[in-house]
Assembly symmetry: C2
Homo-oligomer: 336 residues x 2
DNA sequence: CCGTGCTCCGTTATCGTTACCACACCGTAG
DNA sequence: CTACGGTGTGGTAACGATAACGGAGCACGG
């Protein structure tokens, strides 16, 4: 079915007896053109099998309607929710998300950012507030809005929509301590990669110190993303190395669920013998038995707020440059 | 930091004392240029803060290095795996995935396909083999490779990489029957939307009929995607409406896990009182207690094979137009 | 009857990169 | 010494849509 040559606006113009410019107007909503002319043009276009060519439009108008977005992994319900909220907010206005995966690696993020900027997006959204120096420079020099998410960066590049991962974990530690738990452990990933996970661990340590408790029960579950399986393995190690542990906070609901299943396989009662907390309010945490105490980071809201911020910026509307999201602690059966 | 005017290749050319054409060559790997010249150009580019402009390149070269992909939902580990495999295979060769979500709706798919084709991708990958007439026409007229996935279409548009959802479920029914189960139910979603889920249900009905068994135990769990919660609710309805059911096959591992938790909350032994089967080999199925019998649709492999097929097509290498994936039945504790 | 304001549409000149061709230079084989 | 293939570089002309500008047609009021 491939034609030798795809029809252009000029072809439609010839066929309809109007100028190319009028054809252009027919394809652009909100432009001054009579209904009759537009209908005739769209009909001719359909007959010729014409497909609007964004590449030419992009170059001439210097607008792509792309919004570039980097996330650590496509296979993570939290980030998927953020992208979902972002996508819904922006696609209603004709924007297209250009998505890239950093695989939890700042070097990869740098490559990705460079690649994405070449596409001339009209805004760029990155997950996290830690970047390589060159990535930072690229973002600073980009002449479009830059929004960091899922974090409260020490030195924001432009705008951000996020929350403090450390503070969020602190609120969970406070809950555990208030509930009477003292010997509390943390299961997390390799610190050098996942900076959000790393912040959560630091928040854990600081919060325990705050209560005058021992913060040495740290189990390294491996390289992010930490899977359910790795959560289970980590729980096995925790039970072996620190058998008297009363509660454990996991870097995510997924690892927390894995840890829970390990307890089930060993007949260790949860929360009777050990309480478990997760992070992220994944669906599984609300439905598993016992349900998991967790922190709702409001992933979808992060995406929606980011989307609305971008629209405000591109429409020259007044905007709030820094949006701080308030994570909510959700106490469920796994810790009571 | 926005400059009045971003530097172009011409600016670099002036600064380096070469022609714009040579600058162009410096940015394209595998082109005839001396190392010294290239290094000087790249250095000048870095100093000027130059960012390559794909939009102009796309127009001139009539190549975008985009591969368009539609999936039903971003928040689904199976499709995420497919996109992951696709992305990894293709990004190594410099291609960018352009992703869109149909939300399990063929009308939305049509809009999406039109939008994506305007970006002039070099190939388009769609999930599923059922489309609106117009969407089908758009794909047929697209002068680029079209690959349908996750299905074996009755009338393929171009190429496909997929499997028969009906046959896959049949193999699970055979397993249940062989294991001695007779009163078998199915939990699935609204038939009109998710065609893959619908095919699974039809496969279920056909397989039961094949064994001379009653296929009327069908629980409609709502509008796709079917969540864990909906799986749990469906299990509650199943236990109420057909209390003597011995086994149930769910449209996905997620709904199967939800169903399992409902049994746990009610103290219904699995598989002692009722056996459960899922679909998709999600991580949760392998780690929950009891682990779920499921079907591995090889989501990641679908993506990788699709990616390699695209590379073969774009490189004019000989290709196998139709790739049939063989789903594997995985028997676990939930059905034995 | 003309001036005024509005709607609709045509002409022209780019947007930044790259395909294509031409050509100069060098080393080497005949 | 000439012919020749390979290598590196420059000049020119698009790629297809659209911003900018202005012209033409029409209605209306004075």
């Amino acid at each position: 079915m491939r034609n030798d040559k795809a029809p252009t606006m000029a072809d439609i113009a010839r066929k309809t007896g109007v100028s190319p410019m009028t054809v252009s107007r027919a394809f652009k909503s909100g432009s001054l053109i009579s209904k009759d002319t537009r209908d005739a043009i769209l009909k001719a276009a359909e007959e010729l099998g014409y497909v609007f060519d964004s590449t030419a439009s992009n170059l001439r108008s210097q607008k792509t309607d792309f919004i570039a977005v980097t996330i650590p992994s496509i296979n993570n319900a939290n980030f998927a929710d953020t992208v979902g909220g972002l996508s819904e907010t922006l696609s209603a206005r004709g924007f297209q998300i250009l998505l890239g995966y950093t695989n939890y690696d700042v070097e990869e993020e740098e490559r990705l950012i460079e690649q994405l900027l070449r596409r001339k997006p009209q805004a760029i959204v990155v997950t996290g507030g830690k970047h390589t120096p060159r990535a930072r420079r690229l973002l600073e020099n980009a002449s479009v809005p830059v929004i960091e998410t899922w974090d409260v960066p020490a030195e924001p590049i432009g705008h951000f929509v996020g929350f403090s991962n450390a503070d969020a974990v602190r609120s969970m530690v406070d809950h555990f301590v208030a509930a009477g738990y003292r010997r509390i452990a943390f299961i997390g990933g390799d610190a050098s990669r996942d900076t959000r996970g790393s912040d959560r661990r630091l928040g854990f340590i600081a919060a325990l110190a705050n209560h005058g408790l021992d913060a040495s029960r740290l189990i390294d579950a491996g390289v992010p993303p930490i899977s359910m399986r790795e959560g289970a393995n980590a729980m096995a190690r925790l039970l072996a190395e620190f058998p008297d542990t009363e509660a454990v906070i996991c870097v995510s609901d997924l690892s927390a669920f894995g840890a829970l299943t390990e307890c089930q396989r060993r007949g260790v009662p949860v929360p009777g013998r050990i309480a478990i907390g997760g992070f992220g309010d994944y669906e599984i945490g609300g439905i598993c038995v016992p349900a998991l105490t967790t922190i709702d980071a409001q992933a979808r809201q992060i995406g929606e707020r980011t989307g609305r911020l971008i629209l405000d910026l591109l429409d020259d509307r007044p905007d709030v440059p820094h949006v701080t999201i308030e994570p909510r602690l959700i106490v469920r059966d796994s810790s009571r």
